[in-house]
């Protein structure tokens, strides 16, 4: 039977694709929001470092369709049936992921939430950047650059993403301290991908031909805005503060197209996420809230060792 042949081949393929892990080690599932952003690669690297130090395995799996809440719920559920030792999760939605996390906790699988907060109290700890502080930092930087006056635009990231909403809130609160600055737009969303952000940014730049400052709350929005600015030749002329790092953004910081990048420490987030999960497994008491810190990179300080490491994290080979 042909069907039989095909399935036999599939079985071999599956077996070949499967993890070649030693079964004795404990497995910690690390579930990001997506897998393509640089940011998540740094988290992966941090998680791997923690795992190597503690002798556990990492199961790294994002939702097959990024920014799809239901898909991420499935990954959490499947991790529970897989009987992993613990889950480190960056929830796509603060409400939608609460139920599966509560079910995991009920099944005695501790969950450590990283990056974005989650409703409820089923998770053991929340390891993340103080996003509001990061937003305020960006406002401070932009306000100083503009000398306290001008027209400023903020391109929001996405509906329902708690971490970026906090950054946006922190930024708006911070910018309000400069009475000479007017916010011309703060109600547009960049969307999940850099491509969507690019389109949204183009439209915004078209609408506001006279701008003095721009803030974007994450990597893809920052990158999309950078491309849009470059394509209309306004790069460098508008003061631009972004959030998160990638090779391209670091390059733009060097050339003066970007004037400030708020840097989180994703490597540390991944590292501390796994370490905290292990602490919980070992029965240690952990903090409910663990801050991983933020820093501001500017064209002037970008070569200092601390900032350079955050800007260009050296990812180990095993991170795709």
């Amino acid at each position: 039977m042909r069907l039989g042949t095909i399935l036999a081949v599939l079985a071999l393929l599956l077996a070949a694709c499967g993890d070649s892990k030693s079964p004795s080690k404990r497995v910690i599932a690390v579930i990001p929001k997506g897998t393509t952003h640089e940011f998540w690669k740094s988290i992966h690297a941090g998680a791997l470092k923690a795992a190597a130090e503690s002798g556990v395995d990492i199961a790294w799996k994002g939702p097959p369709k990024e920014d799809d809440r239901d898909e991420q719920i499935k990954v959490v559920e499947d991790s529970v049936t897989r009987r992993v030792a613990a889950i480190v999760l960056a929830p796509l939605d603060e409400a939608a992921l609460a139920t599966p996390v509560a079910e995991a906790a009920k099944d005695k699988i501790p969950v450590v939430v990283i990056d974005s907060d989650l409703k409820g109290d089923a998770h053991a700890s929340f390891v993340a950047t103080d996003n509001e502080k990061g937003g305020a930092m960006a406002a401070e930087r932009l306000g100083t650059l503009l000398g306290g006056k001008g027209r400023v635009l903020m391109l929001r990231y996405q509906v329902g993403s708690a971490s970026t909403e906090k950054r946006e809130r922190g930024f708006l609160a911070g910018i309000a301290k400069f009475p000479g600055i007017t916010m011309v737009s703060d109600n547009q969303y960049a969307g999940a991908t850099a491509e969507a952000a690019y389109a949204a940014a183009e439209n915004l730049l078209q609408r506001f031909p006279e701008l003095d400052g721009i803030f974007c709350p994450n990597e893809s929005a920052t990158f999309g805005m950078l491309r849009a600015l470059t394509s209309v030749g306004r790069n460098g002329k508008v003061k631009f503060v972004g959030f998160d790092a990638s090779a391209k953004l670091a390059e733009a910081l060097k050339t003066g197209d970007i004037h400030g990048l708020v840097l989180q420490n994703p490597f540390r987030m991944g590292y501390l996420g796994v370490k905290t999960a292990l602490d919980v497994l070992d029965g240690k008491l952990v903090e409910r809230r663990i801050d991983t810190g933020v820093a501001m990179a500017t064209p002037d300080n970008m070569t200092t060792p601390d900032i350079a490491e955050l800007l260009n994290p050296k990812l180990p080979e095993n991170v795709r």
Partner: protein, 317 residues
């Protein structure tokens, strides 16, 4: 060439055989974690949304049509439910309104297709965008938080009361699928659905009110989509205007894997449900075995093509 009865039987059993092979395969690869009650309960719950959509879509596909707007329609339902709950409506009223919203989209699809005489693919390609946009407008481009209600329990893997064993949503799927399978096979509406899909000009010639029947079919499918939207809401507990993006393709894939022909006249509810289960078990099994996402996507794509190819060769055309 025309089907002999033996070929018909193979066609009907084919999807079940495929499901059995998927189950055997993953049981062999993951004997400890795959064939467990907890895992099966999980997968069944994960199948509910695609399954409900596929049951409705089977009617549409058998009639020779297609509905690309179901993903958007599911999102619209979650928004309608969340908004009503937020504004103080009772959970039952909100749920009903969500289901009806899906039905309305279906009736609009059917009416546009029959009145404007535009191909279903084009009409629903349009409503896919229109409905998604409407959902975003109703939601103010944000997800809508709703107060907690018993609706969340519809998709709870550990149901309350516990004698239900599986989530109420799973039972809803099983009962509705059983009833609608009977409707499709045995009701006058069902026979007319096959007739229209098999040969529309004959159906016209036999005095079937083809336009009215099509509106009914899309309306019925829309109600099922609305119900899928209710289950999606139950799972997310929020109204999400971006939910179920692209889900229509999974639903259509389930119907096709289940043995339906996109040119109409062939297909059945049981097959489509099995198709949905095959997809869900594949995704689940791949995760358990540790197959990365990209390999899983390639695999599902290859299976869709392979299933249809095998089906064609069985029919000898």
């Amino acid at each position: 060439m025309s089907d002999s009865n033996a070929v018909r039987l193979v066609r009907r059993l084919g999807p079940f055989l495929g499901l059995a092979l998927v189950l055997v395969l993953f049981t062999a690869l993951e004997p400890d974690r795959f064939p467990t009650a907890v895992n099966f309960r999980t997968v069944l719950t994960q199948t509910v949304i695609v399954g409900l959509g596929a049951v409705g879509m089977t009617f549409v596909v058998v009639s020779g049509g297609i509905d690309l707007s179901v993903g958007s329609s599911i999102a619209l339902s979650t928004i309608v439910i969340a908004r009503l709950l937020r504004d103080g409506a009772s959970p039952a009223a909100a749920a009903l309104a969500g289901v009806v919203a899906g039905g309305v989209v279906g009736v609009v699809n059917g009416t546009l297709i029959t009145r404007l005489r535009i191909a279903p693919f084009i009409v629903t390609l349009g409503t896919l965008q229109i409905v998604r946009g409407t959902a975003k407008y109703l939601a103010g481009e944000q997800k809508i938080d709703a107060p907690a209600s018993w609706l969340a329990g519809l998709m709870a893997k550990s149901p309350d009361p516990s004698w239900l064993i599986v989530a109420p949503g799973v039972w809803a799927l099983i009962l509705l699928a059983g009833f609608l399978a009977f409707v499709l096979r045995r009701s006058i509406l069902g026979v007319h659905t096959y007739a229209i899909g098999s040969n529309e000009s004959t159906a016209v010639l036999c005095g079937i009110k083809v336009d009215r029947t099509k509106v009914l079919i899309y309306g019925l499918s829309g109600l099922m989509t609305g119900l899928a939207g209710l289950m999606q809401f139950s799972r997310l507990t929020v109204g999400d205007p971006t939910a179920a993006t692209g889900l229509e393709l999974n639903i259509i894939a389930a119907v096709v894997i289940g043995g339906a022909s996109l040119s109409g006249g062939v297909g059945g509810i049981a097959g489509s449900l099995v198709g949905a289960l095959v997809m869900a078990f594949l995704a689940n099994g791949c995760t358990l075995v540790g197959v990365p996402n990209y390999a899983q996507e390639i695999l599902v794509g290859a299976i869709i093509v392979a299933v249809v190819a095998i089906d064609r060769s069985k029919r000898g055309t």
